[in-house]
């Protein structure tokens, strides 16, 4: 049962990540990585937002995208989820072009907006998410709610929850839908210390199951332990700092 893994506050350790590898050392030819971007760039009205950017994400890997406000982190996630069309380069999901194949059900996006209805209860919102995106075997909306520490809030309208609790409901949605790639935009925002640990635990569990995640952060939230591979975004320029993460 996935919930058992989440509910237990085990020691936090990132799974083995190829953090000492450089980007080019990850061989794209053998097994296609879950996600690969080549020369990816996005410009709005001729004004470059980010890129060109090359990176890949293997199954079971968590990568942190760092950058200041306005460096294009959110835009990058939108491009990777297929919401925005990149202006240059390509995104491959399991070796297939993202824009060509309808693979968006392999991506779960947690954005700045909750994507849920304030008027509806937590359970109604999660049931809708399941109806829309399908469900991972062995989990129910009730279990997912309990996993994020919101047991007993099933009948509570979302509007009565605090910002952090809403974020937890959004995390419960990620647990439910069968997406292999999580794109989390500032998942630590609004969360208390326990919530931050919860996010780390969920990420660890997801990675151990073979899922991958890209997380953005402007750096204000520290990890309690374990350090994922990092990609640093600068305004209009990309700097990849692979392997230097364990500083």
């Amino acid at each position: 049962m996935p919930c058992a893994g989440i509910a237990r506050a085990g020691p936090l350790a990132w799974p083995a990540l190829p953090s000492t590898q450089t980007m080019s050392a990850i061989d794209l030819a053998d097994t296609p990585p879950l996600l690969a971007a080549r020369g990816l760039a996005y410009a709005r009205n001729e004004e470059p937002i980010f890129g060109p950017l090359d990176f890949s994400l293997a199954a079971g890997e968590v990568v942190l995208i760092e950058g200041d406000n306005g460096s294009g982190k959110t835009t990058l996630l939108k491009v990777l989820s297929g919401l925005l069309e990149s202006t240059a380069g390509e995104v491959l999901l399991n070796g297939v072009h993202l824009t060509l194949a309808k693979l968006s059900h392999q991506v779960a996006l947690l954005g700045h907006l909750p994507g849920m209805k304030l008027e509806l209860t937590t359970l109604q919102n999660l049931r809708f998410a399941v109806g829309l995106g399908g469900i991972r075997p062995g989990i129910t909306p009730t279990i997912a709610l309990a996993s994020v520490g919101l047991a007993g809030y099933e009948g509570q309208p979302l509007r009565l929850l605090s910002a952090g609790q809403k974020k937890r409901v959004a995390l419960a949605r990620l647990l439910l839908v069968p997406a292999a790639l999580w794109l989390l935009d500032e998942p630590y925002a609004n969360l208390d210390r326990e919530g931050i640990e919860l996010v780390n635990r969920l990420l660890l569990m997801h990675a151990q199951r073979g899922g991958s995640a890209l997380i953005t952060s402007h750096g204000a939230y520290a990890y309690t332990s374990g350090t994922p591979r990092r990609i640093a975004l600068r305004a209009q320029a990309i700097e990849q700092a692979a392997g230097e993460a364990h500083a």
Partner: protein, 227 residues
């Protein structure tokens, strides 16, 4: 790890939107009150002469219902855009046009169908002859879904703009003029004792066309709006 079926997604969306309408049921009455108010004001302005009212009845009701439906159009995607639900719809593995068709259907059912239900009452207020009432109801039943479908494309185009109300009205107005001409025309023909089937059939033909094409156009327009 397989995604849910498309029909499950549509059912989930229908259920959610119905639950939402129930929670916001105060808003659902707005178009209804508007239409009743407009129609009720005409006798005060024109005097209670039954012959005058009878002549303008069908046209007035038609205009009031179309304007009331237009009023509620703006809310079609607004809240979904504001809270990010629209992004989740676009990201879902199911055809966006089908999901949007469900949304439009629910919107029509909850905001416009009540208008058709009270249309007999409006007809009574304006002394519409009983023989014309079925034609009026048939014309409304064909014209209002058409308005919802055409309107949805325009809403999708303008939803991301701030203060899109004005632009939306300007976009929709020329498109619904033919609908009004044929709908009210059928009623007027029936009132004059002339055959009225042709305009109704035209409306039906357009409705079928819009049912097929409008959700596709709406989906394309929404994707443009979101970028």
């Amino acid at each position: 790890m397989k995604p849910g079926t498309t029909s499950a997604a549509c059912v989930a969306l229908l259920k959610r939107d119905l639950a939402l309408t129930w929670r916001r049921r105060g808003d659902a009455f707005n178009p209804l009150l508007f239409a009743v108010m407009v129609v009720a004001l005409f006798p005060f302005a024109l005097g209670p002469d039954a012959q005058v009212l009878e002549r303008i009845a069908a046209g007035t009701i038609f205009v009031a219902v179309l304007l009331a439906a237009l009023l509620s159009l703006d809310s079609l995607f607004r809240s979904d855009l504001d809270d990010g639900s629209l992004e989740q719809l676009v990201l879902s593995p199911h055809p966006l046009s089908l999901l949007l068709a469900c949304k439009i259907a629910i919107h029509w059912l909850t905001t416009t169908l009540p208008l058709i239900v009270i249309a007999p009452l409006l007809a009574m207020l304006l002394h519409l002859p009983d023989s014309v009432l079925p034609v009026l109801l048939a014309a409304l039943a064909l014209a209002t879904p058409l308005l919802s479908l055409i309107g949805a494309i325009c809403v999708a185009l303008t939803v991301a703009l701030r203060r899109s109300g004005m632009l939306l009205t300007l976009l929709v107005l020329p498109l619904i003029v033919p609908v009004l001409i044929f709908g009210a025309g059928a009623c007027n023909a029936a009132q004059a004792g002339l055959p009225y089937a042709a305009p109704l059939l035209w409306l039906a033909a357009w409705l079928v066309l819009a049912l097929v094409l409008a959700p596709l156009a709406t989906a394309a327009a929404l994707k443009i709006s979101l970028t």
